[in-house]
C-alpha cells in the first residue's frame, strides 16, 4: 500500500498495538475484523460483563465499548436509549473502567472506548488516560472531538499512556480533514458510512463501497466502517472493502428487547455469531 498516494507521518509508524495485531490477525485470515459495539452498563454493568465474554466467544476481534453520556448527539435513538438505561442503573466512568479491568484479560481482545468528550474532560485528560491504561483500555474514539482540537492535550495524554487514538472520517470529510485524521489516529481510522447518526438502516449507501476503497488508498492505518450496518449481508458487503466492520445498534436492540428476560444472553450471542460468521 505504501506506493499508493501520500501517507501521513504518524500513521506510517508500525501498527504494533493490540489493536494493530487484531487487524493483522484478521487480515492473515483474509477477512475483515468484526467489531461489535455495546454501551457499558446497558442495562447494568453485571450484564455488560457477561455480554463482553459472549462477544469474544462469538468471534469479535475488537470490542467497542460505549461510555454512556447524557447528551449523545452522534447517536440514533437505539443507542440514546441504551445510554439512558446505563445512566439510570448508576453507571459511572469509574464503574466502566472497573468493568474493563475485570474483563480485558479474560476476553483477550482489545477494547476501544466510544465516548463523548465531556466525561473525559471532567475526569481530567491525564488522569483519565492513566486510569484507562491501567484498566486495560486499548484505544479511545472520542466522537465529538475534531483531530485539530485534539492535538494539544488529548492525543499526547493518550499516547503517553499507550492508548490508541481513533478518529472519525465522514462522507463530507474533505482532503485536508482526511489528512488530519490520518495524522492524529493510531490503531485504526473509523469511517462513518453515511452522514448522520448511529442506527440501523435498511440499505447501505450506494457510494459507500467506492468511497471506502478510495480512503484505503489514502490512509495507511486499517479502515473500519460503521454506522448503519446491521445485517449479515451488509456486514459481508462492507467486509469486502474495509479492514473492519462495526455493528452497534443491531446488537443494542437485542439488549433492549431482552431487558429482564432470561433469553437475553442467548439471543444476543446468536445475533453476534450470525454477524461474525458473515465475515468468515
Amino acid at each position: 500500500m505504501s506506493a499508493l498516494g501520500w501517507r501521513a507521518g504518524a500513521s506510517s509508524a508500525a501498527n504494533s498495538s493490540a489493536i494493530g495485531e487484531a487487524f493483522a490477525r484478521a487480515k492473515s485470515q483474509k477477512r475483515a475484523a468484526f467489531i461489535p459495539y455495546i454501551t457499558a452498563g446497558d442495562p447494568d454493568l453485571e450484564t455488560s460483563a457477561v455480554l463482553l465474554r459472549v462477544l469474544a466467544d462469538s468471534g469479535a476481534d475488537i470490542i467497542e465499548l460505549g461510555v454512556p453520556f447524557s447528551d449523545p448527539i452522534a447517536d440514533g435513538i437505539v443507542n440514546q436509549r441504551a445510554a439512558t438505561r446505563a445512566l439510570a442503573s448508576g453507571t459511572t466512568l469509574s464503574g466502566l473502567l472497573e468493568l474493563v479491568s475485570r474483563s480485558r484479560d479474560q476476553i483477550g481482545i482489545p477494547i476501544v472506548l466510544f465516548t463523548y468528550f465531556n466525561p473525559l474532560h471532567a475526569r481530567g485528560l491525564r488522569l483519565f488516560a492513566e486510569q484507562a491504561s491501567a484498566s486495560g483500555v486499548d484505544g479511545v474514539l472520542c466522537v465529538d472531538l475534531p483531530p485539530i482540537e485534539a492535538a494539544t492535550d488529548y492525543v499526547p495524554a493518550l499516547r503517553d499512556a499507550g492508548i490508541d487514538t481513533v478518529f472519525l472520517l465522514a462522507p463530507t470529510s474533505d482532503r485536508s480533514r482526511v489528512r488530519e485524521v490520518a495524522e492524529a489516529s493510531t490503531g485504526f481510522v473509523y469511517y462513518v458510512s453515511r452522514t448522520g447518526v448511529t442506527g440501523t438502516r435498511s440499505e447501505l449507501p450506494p457510494e459507500l463501497l467506492e468511497e471506502a476503497k478510495r480512503l484505503r488508498r489514502r490512509v495507511a492505518l486499517p479502515l473500519a466502517v460503521g454506522f448503519g450496518i446491521s445485517t449479515p449481508e451488509q456486514v459481508r458487503a462492507v467486509g469486502k472493502v474495509a479492514d473492519g466492520v462495526v455493528v452497534g445498534s443491531a446488537l443494542v436492540r437485542i439488549i433492549e428487547d431482552g431487558v429482564g428476560s432470561s433469553d437475553l444472553v442467548r439471543d444476543f450471542g446468536r445475533k453476534a455469531l450470525e454477524l461474525s460468521d458473515a465475515l468468515r
Binding site: 453520556f69 452522534a74 435513538i77 471532567a122 465529538d144 474533505d174 447518526v197
Partner: protein
C-alpha cells in the same frame, strides 16, 4: 466539521457584502419593525423612587422577541448559500416562531425541534409555528427541554447537511455560531445607544441589564457598551426554585467548565461530566450551558452575572403588567427582577437600561399556573 467551515466561509464573505447588509437592514425595518422604541418607564421608575428606567422594546418586534434579528440574518444567509431546508431548535418557542416566519418569507422548508415539556408550556407558540408552515417535531429524550431539542437538531443537521442550514438560536455552539448570532443582535445595543443620546442627552446608561439563557439578547445589548467603562453590565440567569443542582439554570454560580454542543463554557454538570437537569419557570432560560463570550467577559471583569428566582421573575412580570401596561416575557422578567434590586438605591439622575427582550403573551398560561400552585400553598 465540513459544514461548519462552509458556513464560516459563507458568513465571513456575505456579512462583508454591502448588498447582503442592505437586504438585511430593509428586512429588519420593513418586515420585523426596527428600530424598536426606547421607552422611558416613568411609572416603574417612580415606583422604585430612584434611577430612570429605560426599556429597549424588543418585545414590539414582529413575532414578539429579539430572536427575529438572528433568524432573518441566518435565513437570508442560508438562502444565499442555496440551502433549501431550514432547521431550528426552540425553548420558549420565540426562536422557533421567528425562524418559521423567516422561512415562510423566503419560501424555504422549515422543521423546528422542541422539547415535549416546552411544547406543553408554550402551546401557543407551537400553534403559531404550525400556522406559519413549519413542522414542529416533539423531542421526548432527556429532560425534554431546550438542550434535548438542540441534540436532535444537531442529529438532523449531520444527517441532512448537504441541503440544510441549522439556524441555531443563541450565542452557543461551535464557531461561527456564537459570533454570527452576536453580530445579528448588535443592532439592539447600537440603537439603544443612539436613542439614549437623543432622549436622555447622553449615549450611555449607568447600568444595563439583560436576562441570560444562552445569552443572545444580552450580548446584543452589551456589545455597544463594552468599551465604555462607565457602564455597568449585568446578566441575569434563571435562579429557579433553589440553589441545588437541578433546581435552577444559574451557570455562573453553579457551573464548571465543560463541553456541550461544540462549545467549551460554563456548564451545569455532575462530577462525572454528565450534563445536569435544569429548572426555570421560563423555558427560554432553561439550558445548562451559557454562551462562551459571556464567560470570557466575566473573566475579564467586564460583566457581572446574577440570578432571579422563579418567584422574583413572576413578581416582576405582574409589576410591569400592572403599572406600565406591558406583559413581559418571563425571560425578560428575570432582567426586570434585577432592576428592583438596583433602581431604588440609585439617584434620579442615573439611568438603568433594560432589554425587554420579548413579550409575555406566550406566558399567560404559565403565569396563571404558577400563581395557582403558589396560592395552593407550596
Amino acid at each position: 466539521m465540513a459544514p461548519l467551515s462552509e458556513l464560516e466561509r459563507a458568513y465571513d464573505k456575505l456579512s462583508r457584502k454591502r448588498s447582503f447588509r442592505k437586504r438585511l437592514e430593509s428586512l429588519l425595518r420593513d418586515f420585523a419593525g426596527r428600530p424598536t422604541p426606547l421607552y422611558l418607564a416613568e411609572r416603574l421608575s417612580d415606583h422604585f423612587g430612584g434611577a430612570k428606567i429605560y426599556l429597549k422594546r424588543e418585545d414590539l418586534l414582529h413575532t414578539g422577541a429579539h430572536k427575529i434579528n438572528n433568524a432573518l440574518g441566518q435565513v437570508l444567509l442560508a438562502s444565499e448559500m442555496g440551502k433549501r431546508r431550514i432547521i431550528a431548535e426552540t425553548g420558549a418557542g420565540q426562536h422557533g416562531v421567528a425562524t418559521a416566519s423567516a422561512a415562510a418569507l423566503f419560501g424555504i422548508e422549515c422543521v423546528v425541534y422542541m422539547g415535549e415539556k416546552d411544547m406543553r408550556r408554550q402551546r401557543v407558540n407551537v400553534e403559531r409555528m404550525g400556522l406559519l408552515g413549519a413542522e414542529v417535531v416533539a423531542v421526548d429524550a432527556g429532560a425534554r427541554t431546550l438542550k434535548d431539542a438542540i441534540n436532535e437538531a444537531l442529529r438532523d443537521w449531520v444527517t441532512n447537511v448537504r441541503t440544510t442550514h441549522y439556524v441555531l438560536g443563541s450565542v452557543l455552539g461551535p464557531d461561527p455560531y456564537p459570533r454570527m448570532v452576536r453580530d445579528f443582535h448588535r443592532v439592539i445595543g447600537l440603537e439603544a445607544k443612539k436613542q439614549l443620546k437623543k432622549q436622555a442627552k447622553r449615549d450611555w446608561p449607568d447600568l444595563a441589564i439583560a436576562c441570560v439563557g444562552g445569552g443572545s439578547n444580552a450580548i446584543g445589548l452589551f456589545s455597544a457598551f463594552l468599551s465604555d467603562s462607565r457602564v455597568r453590565l449585568i446578566g441575569v440567569e434563571a435562579g429557579g426554585t433553589g440553589a441545588a443542582l437541578g433546581e435552577h439554570a444559574a451557570r455562573f454560580s453553579g457551573g464548571s467548565v465543560g463541553v456541550l454542543h461544540g462549545t467549551k463554557t460554563l456548564l451545569l454538570q455532575d462530577g462525572d461530566g454528565q450534563v445536569a437537569a435544569t429548572h426555570s419557570v421560563s423555558a427560554g432560560l432553561d439550558y445548562p450551558a451559557v454562551g462562551p463570550e459571556h464567560v470570557a467577559l466575566r473573566d475579564r471583569g467586564r460583566t457581572e452575572y446574577t440570578s432571579a428566582t422563579d418567584a422574583e421573575a413572576v413578581a416582576a412580570f405582574h409589576l410591569l403588567s400592572r403599572i406600565e401596561g406591558i406583559l413581559p416575557a418571563l425571560e425578560s422578567a428575570h432582567a426586570l427582577a434585577e432592576v428592583a434590586k438596583h433602581a431604588p438605591r440609585l439617584s434620579k439622575d442615573k439611568i438603568v437600561l433594560v432589554n425587554l427582550s420579548g413579550r409575555g403573551d406566550k406566558d399567560v398560561e404559565s403565569v396563571m399556573e404558577y400563581d395557582q400552585n403558589d396560592q395552593g400553598g407550596e
